[in-house]
Symmetry: C2
Subunit: 107 residues, 2 copies
Amino acid sequence: MGASKLDIYPESINQMAAIAKVFAHPARIAILQYISKQESCICNDIVDEIGLSQPTISQHLKVINDAGLLKGNFKGKSICYCLNVERFKEFQIVLNSFFNGTTSNCC
Amino acid sequence: MGASKLDIYPESINQMAAIAKVFAHPARIAILQYISKQESCICNDIVDEIGLSQPTISQHLKVINDAGLLKGNFKGKSICYCLNVERFKEFQIVLNSFFNGTTSNCC
DNA sequence: AAATTATATCGTAATATTGCAATGTTACAA
DNA sequence: TTGTAACATTGCAATATTACGATATAATTT
């Protein structure tokens, strides 16, 4: 196998897992942190910052972007990636509602 | 490759990614939710609840347990898995401090 | 002790992820 | 229009993850 059986879970759980997956790689966390620290951001800057090749960074950026976490300002040949704060906060809310809805009275 | 280059990131980032990884599979989220709803929990119950085989559930439980998210009460042949609420809250704090420390003023 | 029950571990197949070199693409510059 | 700089895409190799059947283990029950 190797593939997750997504069809057996409720949508809310799959959504939560999809969100977590974006953060499940250190490169993507580092990229998000770096972007959030900049006024504007150019992909090549990230390549210098983090020790990964340009294609690899580009790939991670795609994952982040597909999750809706980026807003792009396409000015000139350098693309400015920015954090989509609204979407980012949405993620935080989903995660927190999961945490807050989960308790334990056993043990 | 296929392996993440963990050595190029600060510890805090690797820790954050490791936490996210636990939640990056719907089965593990479903298991955590199920455990938190029960007074006590037996693995076989989870197998009935979620549509995965016993070995697969056991494997996911190991991942959750290795992350320190379970406290076990070993009474008899049925093992009682319980949520380690303290650890769980720790995870929430790490995630939230990441979210709150990340903003954007570009675009 | 033998059977039973609940869970863990092993082995293996299928698929996903990570990473990079090579190559495309696109927009500006000269 | 010919470069060139900044990404994106493709193709591939290495490793990780997911899932399950078969089997082991460990505690109860009979």
